[in-house]
Symmetry: C2
Subunit: 221 residues, 2 copies
């Protein structure tokens, strides 16, 4: 009876948090996934190594079988997160098409990734600031590549005459990227608007602005 209870307890215990023999142990990917969720909900410094361990069903110390440190976990999430955007936007940014079309498609590609990886996007674009040293340097470089995709489209649009000449090209790029990043924050994939709807509306605002017809443009030219 006592032996029977013990055996039952051991089975429950093993299936709850042990590396079940024959099935997969907790992997780095699962840890990254849970850490992404927790960082997105509460931010990196507010999430403890114990919160992550509990989420994946391990004891705190056991996490270090899979990861080197808490900050390496953040680094991987941020780096891979930005890379998702580079991989999605690069193809549509470089096709042979008018700058307006390419900008609209780049915005759509951004939103598609942001909608599919909402939590990782939040961590990647807001929480890279907690990284230091080499990790931070790598991320800063990736961020610059990301901004350059949009900067190139704007520059080519201005040079080809498709776009008006803004007072500051850099500022125009920061405005677009800022609006886009903000959209990634509030966009709700389960809401009434699809990714394409939102992308179309964002592109409208970026390309045409809010003014009806040429009312505002006339006042300036």
């Amino acid at each position: 009876m006592a032996a029977h209870d013990r055996a039952g307890a051991d089975v429950a215990r093993t299936s709850r948090r042990g590396p079940t023999p024959g099935s997969d142990a907790v992997s780095v990917d699962v840890i990254k996934q849970e850490a992404t969720r927790l960082f997105a909900e509460r931010t990196y410094p507010a999430v403890g190594i114990r919160d992550i361990a509990e989420a994946v069903g391990l004891l705190p110390g056991s996490l270090y079988v899979h990861i080197r440190s808490k900050d390496e976990l953040l680094f991987l999430i941020v780096r891979d997160g930005i890379q998702l955007f580079l991989d999605a936007i690069e193809p549509v940014a470089h096709v042979a098409a008018p700058a307006g079309v390419r900008l609209q498609n780049a915005m759509g590609a951004y939103l598609a990734v942001a909608a599919e990886h909402q939590q990782q996007t939040r961590v990647a674009f807001h929480q890279w600031t907690y990284l230091q040293g080499d990790q931070r340097a790598v991320v800063v470089e990736l961020r610059q590549s990301y901004e350059k995709l949009f900067a190139d489209i704007v520059a080519e649009g201005v040079d080809s005459g498709d776009f008006r000449r803004p007072r500051s090209r850099r500022l125009a790029v920061l405005t677009i990227v800022g609006a886009l990043n903000a959209a990634g924050d509030w966009f709700d994939p389960s809401g009434s608007m699809s990714v394409d709807d939102v992308a179309a509306d964002l592109a409208d605002t970026a390309l045409r602005g809010l003014c009806e017809g040429t009312a505002y443009a006339q006042a300036d030219s």
Copy 2:
């Protein structure tokens, strides 16, 4: 000699961190000011009560003569920060003028505050998420008032025919507010562009968009 040294040490000690008799003791405002700087640089959870104490020249425990808790400090910074924007934007948002003019002026008012209170702006718009309960509820309400200022301008612009009818008014507002908040983050008051320059460029993008002439508008209508 020993007595002399002691007296000198006491004077230095008093002037360094004591409540110097006859002069002002460390005030809540100084603590708020230093906490604002530290929160903006490293974020709320990453800043310890000991960091704040050191910045104002007190020992950690002595802070609690002036403040109730660390989270109350954050609350005050965030609440007063958002209020700065409400106070600055409300007057220009409600004057009798075309929606385009009012939007441009509201953007200028936002940027003026963001430039003058850069650190508090960062804390107010990014770190209110660390607040909970009643404090968070108060802040959420203030944020809604802030967004409503822009929502009203857009709604009135659309109704009067000054603005084209966007696919989603709410989305247009979020886009504008998002671009504005982003500008508050990267705007450098010591840079080459003035507040007015940046406001004019932002308003251009919001009202006219990037496209030259009616090229993009024609394709749509």
